[in-house]
């Protein structure tokens, strides 16, 4: 039951369509990686900046504030300043305002404009009626929330891309860890052969029967919920298949003449493993890596979804999707955008692995 499971049938994967699929998925991956690297710098929003005036804003290409948002923010400020808004006229970026109150207006209260997310610093144009009437010019800030904002008023575009950094980084690091452990373990088992091999593979079989989600939960318990440590936990459970594959390769490679020659020349076992066995197993290792990376990313998002992974204010696609799932009623954008990025990444990696040699998509656990 443990041989790689064929999915795309070799007879289905013709040369041309394979190349097309490969290029398309590479382009998608490159685009997403580039966006995640550069996007947060260009978006103009720190990922943990809270915009109190813009909670659960819908995604749009246009700049905020719009007319209603201006009015609402203004009413809030006026209430806090204990003044009435007498006149409001918007002239491009600048809002001309006139206030009145029963008592002289304390101009220091105008600082509320600076503190809001909607306006810039206010400039007093004129005071009249012994300070009871006040004309002010206030510039409106122009803020774009491409993907809208979350329940805390943070820019979802930036957060999605920052989450992508985390998800991709964890995916790569954990895959690398799984690769290292799996290759070393498998190569040693296969090369040693006999009893050692049987014992080592029996251990793999036993760990395999352990429900891996439990394993991850316990490892997260042991290591704590730190982002660097998640990938250790994931890497520690995902090396099993790699070990199997490399062991199978090592078993056949050690029969080859060049290994016998190296042994005859007195090369040590580690040297033979490093120089001959592992390089010759590179093909299947690389092919399996294409399956491993999406699996690890999925696992990370799964662990984060359960609240065991990356902690706020840092985030990952799993955390964002979990947030979105809690807010589907009314704020569907919170789910759609992170899910789209996650889905596109997984899809691209998956079809990359398929195109590579039409093999295990089935390892989806």
């Amino acid at each position: 039951m443990n041989k790689p499971l064929p999915t795309t049938h070799p007879r289905l994967a013709t040369g041309a369509s394979r190349h097309l699929a490969m290029r398309a998925s590479l382009a998608t991956l490159g685009l997403i990686a580039l966006l995640c690297l550069i996007g947060p710098l260009a978006s103009g929003h720190p990922y943990d900046q809270v915009y109190r005036d813009y909670v659960l804003v819908r995604p749009s290409l246009f700049a905020h504030p719009d007319a209603t948002e201006t009015r609402e923010a203004l009413e809030g400020i006026a209430r806090r300043m204990r003044v009435r808004v007498e006149a409001l006229r918007q002239d491009g970026e600048v809002v001309h305002l006139a206030f009145s109150a029963d008592r002289p207006i304390d101009t220091r209260a105008l600082r509320a404009f600076e503190r809001s997310d909607v306006f810039g610093p206010a400039r007093i144009v004129e005071t009249s009626d012994k300070g009871r009437r006040l004309s002010v010019d206030v510039p409106a800030k122009r803020t774009v929330f491409l993907f809208g904002t979350d329940t805390n008023g943070r820019d979802l575009f930036t957060r999605t891309l920052i989450a992508g950094r985390i998800s991709l980084a964890v995916g790569l690091l954990a895959s690398f860890l799984a690769l290292t452990i799996g290759v070393a373990y498998g190569a040693v088992a296969g090369y040693a052969g006999g009893r050692i091999d049987a014992l080592m593979m029996r251990i793999v079989e036993i760990v395999y029967a352990l429900p891996f989600i439990f394993f991850v939960i316990v490892l997260v318990m042991v290591f704590g919920r730190h982002f660097v440590l998640i990938f250790i936990a994931i890497g520690a459970v995902e090396w099993l298949d790699m070990a199997r594959i490399v062991r199978g390769q090592a078993l056949s490679i050690k029969q080859r003449d060049f290994v016998a020659a190296a042994e005859a020349l007195g090369a040590s076992a580690p040297a033979i493993l490093w120089r001959h066995v592992i390089p010759n197993a590179a093909g299947p290792i690389a092919a399996f890596l294409a399956v491993l990376v999406p699996r690890v990313i999925l696992l990370e998002s799964f662990v984060s979804f359960l609240g065991l992974g990356v902690q706020e204010p840092l985030t990952s696609w799993g955390v964002l999707v979990a947030d979105g799932a809690r807010n589907i009623q009314g704020s569907i954008h919170l789910l759609i955008f992170p899910a789209l990025f996650l889905g596109a990444t997984l899809g691209a990696l998956q079809s990359l692995g398929n195109a590579w040699h039409g093999s295990p998509g089935a390892g989806h656990h």
């Binding site: 039951m1 289905l12 029996r202 899910a339 998956q350």
Partner: protein, 310 residues
Amino acid sequence: MLRFFLSRVATAVPAFFIIVALAFFLMRLAPGGPFDTERALDPEIAKNLRHIYRLDLPLMQQFWLYLQSLAHGELGPSLHWRDFTVSELFAKALPISAALGAKAMLVAIIAGTALGLVGAMSKVRIGPHAVDGAAIFGIVLPIFVVAPLLQLGLGLTLHVLPVGGWNDGAWQNQVLPVTTLALPQIAIVARLMQAALIDALAMPHIRTLRAFGMPGYHIYVHALRAAFAPVVSYLGLAAGNVLTGSVVVETIFGIPGMGRYFVDGALGRDYTLVMGTVIVVAAAVLLFNLIVDLILAWLDPRVRYDSRPR
């Protein structure tokens, strides 16, 4: 066949005990304890609690005691749900999770086989590609994305099905969780089935049947028997996947199954509860793998005679 069965059991039993031991000691490595609260407990009370639950004994002795009670079929008292034993908690939750998982597996096998059959049988060139392409979506979209989308579409917008809850297992409440849980498995089974069927249909014995002028359904029955092997061998993995998925599905749909005990038990350091879930899950997975092995051996005699451990 009996020999094969015994050799499989002989590997499963020690595996079970190693898993139990591994889980027991790994969990104790984790910092924190079951009685940690926001405000530290009075040291005397904490000491008493630890004494009552025998957590003050040496670890090896605790493990031995645990194995003894396990031999009597007892999973011990929950440390967090103070008035319940783990068995009592599971008595309510396990049937729900088991029903959910079994239905999802059944749906996956039937729908996946049907889809694979359609793909492999289709006379048009695009047929198999269509099944393959559709399956990629099923494989790639994580359960926790599919579930809220289904809730939104069928529950909140169309008002056809309830968004969540169990409602004593009313079928309306089961449709969405089972569908969500089954979808990725349907996709994988369909792809496996299709690939295996295309292979099987090209085999010499099928050609012979065709040459004899056998009717179409007859040929497909023979091809299916050969094609079932990879699907059946995947089912062992699928059981694990469904189990993992059910944790998410139960969380999203608010179903009172085993799922919550997984995460809550581990986070609350409820040692006995976590051990209970590990034991149930490990036993289920091992048992399922055993059944899968037996079906494989029944389908393909070569497996029976080559029963050395892999």
